[in-house]
Amino acid sequence: MAVIIAFWIQFSLPAVPPAEEIPTQEIVVVAARLPGQDPSADSSQIDGQRLRRSARPSALEAIAQEAADVYVSSRGAGIHGIASGASGSINIRGLGGSPNTQVLVVEDDVPDYQGIFGHPIPDAYTPFLIEDVRVIKGGDSVLWGTNAMGGVILIKNRWLHRDGLEIMNDTGYGSYQSLRENAALLWRRGDWDIAGALSVLRTDGQRVGAGGVNVIGVVGARLRLRPELRLSLSNKLLHLSGGDPGPASHPNDDHWYDVWRDSLSLRLDYDGENYSLRLVPYFHIGIHRLYDGFYSQDYLGGGNLVCDFDLIEGLKLKLGAAGEWVDGLVEDRIAREHQPVDPSGNLSVYGQLTYTPAESLTFMAGARGMYHTSYGAIGLYKAGARWEFAQGFFLRSRLARNFRQPTLRELYLPFPTANPDLKPEYALNWDFGLAFERGHFSLSVSGFRTAAENLIKYFGAWPSAEVVNIDQITVWGISAQMALAKLGPLDVRLSGEWQDVGRYTRQNPEGRLTFTVDWLHTFGAHAIMATLSGEWVHGLYMGNYGRDPIPDVFYIDLSARYRYSPADARFVVEPYLVLANPLDRHYAYIKDYPMPGFHVLAGLMVKI
């Protein structure tokens, strides 16, 4: 087996401000990157405006465009799907799960995954209310618990920061009878904040059976009881319907799915003089129906209480307690059979200590003690450091022990097989990096080692498949990222990754490169923006052990926008055109699920 030293360029660029907020006088900011919750973590921060303007058809793909070490598969023009034939699998530094059980998505401090299948739904995220996204590479189970094994995607949604009203509507129409409608409303007055969004995607897809409709509605309300005390309520309801088109050589036109999901969360924030408190209880429910009679209800309930203390100058302590419970029911409505499922839960206490003895040096250590109803006591830990050894030059390193509980599907459901004796997965992830930021230029390089044990893998094929915990795997890799900001009218970003994934090669690419070139020209109230972006993926396989190789993925996208925003008016009008795959490349992330050739989307965004 060839051992390839991976070269990975890590993204660590300060977020570029949204275009409509760019002042007429040029200002270049030289500052350290915001450290986030864990200052030693290797992370990418992506502004919500970049995601909204991305030429990529879904939120997860737009995130993957900004960070080469985040691989997301796709099968068409914006719909990932559910169950068989679904795309949207996320892989970060060799870990992803089957599917996505090793990457945790957290939306406004609420972990998001299904109770039975144990993973997030790729179609459940719309960028329209997103303020920013932070991707923590290497995971962080100390702070986030199960599933935060390979990575954590932290999504923060928007509120208005001052009294007023903002309404935004984005309507697009394009190839394959694709219709996109996104509307958002944000309102703030006195002690109240309201945020709501509706996102609809409807498409026939590029081939038989690839169409579908995604509808996502989000509403949130926040009340400032006192200046230091805030109470928020948030609910997301989504309805996804579509189908598995099947391989192009054996298509399906009736393998449909119909999914309803709702996520409700409450949040209480208190800011004291030297401490802050946050309490977040949440509840998710999902109802899934499939063409073959499959029916399920799944539940995830939990809560998180976190307190951040400023102990003394340079010493911060985070203490938390969390609990989660998953349950569900599954039946075959045609055969009239029920699949028994046992619920499970866990309770945890955790802490993280951050010590900054000097302005340029920070140490971090954390631990989590968990009690699981099925696996007993579990210990997790992490430690790291970040050092600015010269102006603009940073060194960082972190070691983290992460964990994933087996899903109820893996334990009890014959899809394709189950094993109630499965044990949890563990990973010990280590990474180190060097970064440089000055003026218009930033460059960072990171090396990483992902070592996982007890990985849960499926072997064989139905009807003789089995699922077991295997022994260890080790993934070495390197990432690197370069950005040139405000180089005249241009912004250039280049991100690359190379890794040795060993024998578990299924949907786990060896190499990836993403690039984005933005061109902006403003003249008074007018602006013209053009973007060239693209991706190259190498070493992609449909099977483990290097079986079923998939040809390299390469494509580019072009997009153009015109913005009209008069200085004395309070509105923005922005028509745009996206030319996706203008080279009409024939490629696929998933074997025999070809991506669309050249296709077009035209739209209009209006904001008041």
Binding site: V208, H250, P414
Partner: protein
């Protein structure tokens, strides 16, 4: 004075609309014809993203389907009615129909009914040849007896 030139805005709009709707209109059109045998039926034919949920008798053709550009074999399910009838006659499962002995007389020794399989079975087949179809092309592919083989690439049930 008559304006002989269309408004530029309308022209731009027409171009954009045609771009938005035109990509799949350029896909190749494909027809498949059953030329296997008088006694052979085929159904659920597919070719590079196209699917025809229909049953074709000998000589019948599918409707033109807009398939993805590229190369693929034609995949289908095959039912040999003649072979099925012969087997049932051998097993004596059809009243009034039985195999003949060497004298041309009805054979009075039918197989034990418990060992007979009366369920008609459609088997997965594909053409041996691969066909290529490009944008704006029109193709008629014929299924012929010497150009088919069993198709073991049919995906099984993956579960959820």
């Amino acid at each position: 004075m008559i304006n002989r030139y269309p408004d530029k805005t309308l022209v731009l709009l027409a171009v954009l609309i045609s771009l938005a709707g035109g990509c799949d209109l350029a896909y190749p059109e494909t027809v498949v014809v059953n030329k296997l045998d008088q006694r052979v039926l085929v159904r659920n034919l597919s070719f590079n993203g196209c699917l025809w949920n229909t049953v074709l008798a000998y000589g019948e053709a599918t409707s033109p389907g807009r398939c993805l550009p590229g190369e693929d074999r034609v995949h289908f399910e095959k039912f040999d009615a003649g072979a099925y009838c012969q087997k049932q006659a051998d097993d004596g499962t059809i009243e009034g129909v039985c195999a003949c002995n060497t004298d041309g007389q009805p054979d009075d020794n039918p197989m034990d009914s418990g060992l007979s399989n009366e369920v008609p079975t459609w088997f997965n087949y594909q053409t041996i040849s691969s066909f290529r179809a490009g944008y704006r092309e029109f193709h008629i592919f014929e299924l012929t007896p010497k150009d088919i083989e069993q198709d073991f690439s049919v995906p099984g049930p993956y579960g959820h």
